[in-house]
Symmetry: C2
Subunit: 493 residues, 2 copies
């Protein structure tokens, strides 16, 4: 789209600028005319669609169904859960009127003062309130439980500082909202979905994550426990990639949702909610990409292979295209998606750079000599390496290569994370180390006061109390008070 | 969900009540706490998901890609296309503020007057304006064209009288927005998408439609030509099922979107837009369903077959289940979706009524005697008939049966439409006939005045100027002025 292929800012020069350049130049997304809202462009949206398809499949395999609830939430609903309103009232889009009209002074469209809503509506920042108000009518007895519902939707949070994919006023996400007869079952569900998210992040996105729980400070507004997956970006900053909340009976109490249990006793319903968003696109981009552009995991690439013909005349192009059609058929038989770019308005060199920028996992180039030799040039995006291979069984070769790339980018990200994850034992050391980025494993006394002091003084937060790893007790690096296990500190997106 | 299986209101008794009852009792959707906004329940949403999947596949096969544009439209954008603003300003949700706060008098949450937006934002009623404002930056030359983009999204139109699926303040839809170098290409695209919609309606939904163009009165606000597909419901009322608009250069001019053509001449870009919405759910329900409940086309049913075991004790259930597992495997090998309902809290009779209500195309019942005889009872929802058949090659039998049901419900709807479509030649006859419902083929003089007079006096509108059928000229039934062909009149949803 008439875009010049300029070089990206390099990561070492300015990481933040590199990210913005990349999102724009790889045609993933751009800022819109509406403050804080982005346009997700076709190439970016194609990646998001692949993410959605896999997640949706995983949700359905774990027994969930999709539904759809209103975009708007009556203002009074927000107030019903005390913590929830604190968390969301400060940054929401408020609908106050339902009509425009032409101004009498001819100065154009104005809000019609006579079309004022009796009660203002909030554009959903998350849907617990409207959904639990609905569940009230769906649930009478334990036979109506569990309810395992997910919604794909757009939500709005009026963020003041926005960045494409990472923090936007409107974003796309899924939000699961489940209702259960017992506390145990609701906790189990919350943990199950954290595990689904971790599985997706690692095995599809190729992004290694740490599973754990949030501290009280970092918990979702209205939750008793927030489970999360935390990723680490190449600049050493953490990114919360998904959260799953055990909501206790908070929303059931706020919306009076009760049920008769098996012993005919009335009780409030137990809840979980969980979500991931287009923010995952940011995690994907920042985990794998390099100074040449995007690096995509084969499992989420809009097309996994691009084929570029190298020819001097129409005749050569015709014979190459004939051979390429064979190759495409073979690749497709293996479920591999392919794009053949035979457009004659761009030179091969331009195409190579373009598909490198767009992160296509494998690039094949084929010329007249290859036709003679029965070979093809195979370039892999992750290592920027290339080799010439025989066309015999090319489909098996490429299938293996895609697996290898998928594995390699995960391993590379994991190795990086390992290299910047370290134990820190004193607060002085911490202040020095946090400047270098990465995950710092530290003892903490479990109080919000200490956590806040550290945040104020170093901008680092506790990313999670990890499930796995060393559980040796110790002493808080700040107060010296006892600590049951190390927690993960980092600066975060 | 603790729902009693009460009888539906019959269609003859009260068609409108029958529709509402059915939508609620079949668990398709319900009204929410927000005026005019619905909750789409899991069973209803599963049908919508099937519709989406097929449409999305058809859009991609015709070269389109998906993208996402902001939910909000700056107020000033709406005003830029004169007809467009007339069509949409009167019924829109207006965001005026971006924050709530606690009131100083302790009376709860109020809109923070200090968080007033400089320019109000409209929740999109359709996205031409925000999209063409974006295309401005995407298009410089003919090489950037065509742009063939579709968006799946929610939109809001502040309707005063709402009905589940048919007319709701918020609804889900897809909106295609394409940009072309020539008028011819844009018209071709608009017609192509009308044909895609017709193909989908007839071959997936089983809903026969008439293709045609709208009169100037009924055109989309901002279009030069609106192509449409019109369906006919069982009560004789028409339902507009999908529209595709040729927008000319109207939006390109409003948003100053120009391009250099092949001869290096600057021109405005040509446009189309096209959409179908959750309204299709209403068309689906009202075309096929009966007094026993929903009738679903096999191609869109969340599950095509339900199996109900008939047993007296656990032992019988165990042997039946064993056999059923075989049957399920065989059906799945044919791509047939199956639900096995072996729950022991409901009697078979209750289950039969429930799945009839929910429109499952085929119900299989199997008991101890069937096991002995190697048979199974097969009931088809469309004809409410049943027979006992051999289990041998049951998968082929069911596959054929599903095809037959798909074909039969379409044919039945087509026969009905044919039976209530007739030529009417005088306005007196028209006034009488319109009371009986159906499509009336009449000569009309082509003027908006006559069309409006007819609408005022009879509540009938011109549904479309049909593409196919008799093109014999005649004289307007009202004014006697010449008419080039008969057009279709009906009362409509």
């Amino acid at each position: 789209m008439a875009k010049e292929l300029k070089e990206l800012t390099s990561r070492s020069e300015n990481y933040s600028q590199w990210y913005n350049d990349l999102v724009i130049k790889a045609d993933l997304a751009e800022n819109s005319a509406v403050r804080g809202c982005m346009v997700i462009k076709p190439y970016g949206y194609a990646i998001w669609e692949k993410m959605q398809a896999e997640l949706d499949r995983m949700f359905k395999e774990t027994g969930h169904v999709n539904a759809y609830f209103p975009l708007f939430i009556p203002k009074s609903f927000l107030s019903k859960e005390a913590d929830h309103v604190e968390g969301f009232a400060k940054e929401c889009a408020v609908v106050t009127h339902y009509r425009l009209k032409n101004s009498s002074d001819g100065r154009g469209l104005i809000v019609d003062p006579e079309a004022k809503l009796e009660e203002e509506l909030i554009v959903r920042p998350t849907s617990e309130t409207i959904i639990w108000n609905t569940y009230k009518n769906w649930i009478q007895s334990y036979r109506d439980l569990p309810i395992l519902v997910n919604q794909w939707a757009n939500v709005v949070r009026w963020e003041m500082r926005t960045r494409l994919f990472l923090r936007t006023a409107e974003f796309l996400w899924q939000e699961g909202h489940t209702a259960h007869a017992t506390e145990e079952e609701a906790v189990e569900e919350s943990i199950k979905m954290m595990n689904v998210y971790a599985d997706f992040a690692e095995n599809f996105m190729g992004v290694p994550v740490v599973k754990g729980t949030k501290t009280a400070n970092e918990r979702f507004a209205g939750a008793l426990e927030t489970f999360c997956i935390e990723a680490l970006m190449q600049d050493g900053k953490a990114l919360q990639a998904g959260t799953s909340h055990f909501l206790g009976q908070n929303f059931a109490k706020a919306f009076d949702v009760t049920f008769l249990d098996k012993s005919n006793k009335l009780d409030y319903v137990w809840a979980s909610s969980w979500g991931v968003s287009t923010r995952l696109m940011g995690a994907l981009i920042m985990t794998h990409s390099d100074d040449n552009g995007l690096v995509l995991p084969p499992k989420l690439a809009p097309y996994q292979v691009v084929i570029v013909p190298i020819y001097k005349n129409e005749e050569q192009l015709t014979s190459i295209t004939q051979k390429v059609n064979d190759i495409i058929a073979k690749l497709k038989s293996k479920g591999i998606s392919v794009k053949y770019d035979s457009s004659d308005t761009k030179k091969p060199g331009w195409k190579f750079a373009e598909y490198e920028l767009k992160g296509v996992p494998v690039r094949l180039a084929i010329g007249a000599r290859d036709l003679e030799n029965g070979t093809i040039e195979v370039a892999r995006r992750d290592k920027l390496s290339k080799e010439t291979v025989s066309l015999e069984n090319i489909e098996d070769y490429i299938a293996d290569l895609l697996d290898d790339i998928q594995h390699n980018i995960f391993q590379k990200a994991l190795d990086f994370r390992t290299s910047v994850t370290r134990e820190v034992n004193s607060y002085d050391e911490f202040k020095e180390e946090i400047e270098k980025g990465g995950f710092l494993l530290c003892h903490w006394d479990g109080t919000s006061e200490t956590e806040e002091k550290i945040k104020e003084e170093t901008k680092a937060t506790i990313r999670c109390i990890p499930f796995d790893g060393d559980k040796t007790p110790g002493k808080c690096m700040v107060t010296g008070a006892p600590s049951t296990q190390r927690v993960i500190f980092a600066r975060a997106y």
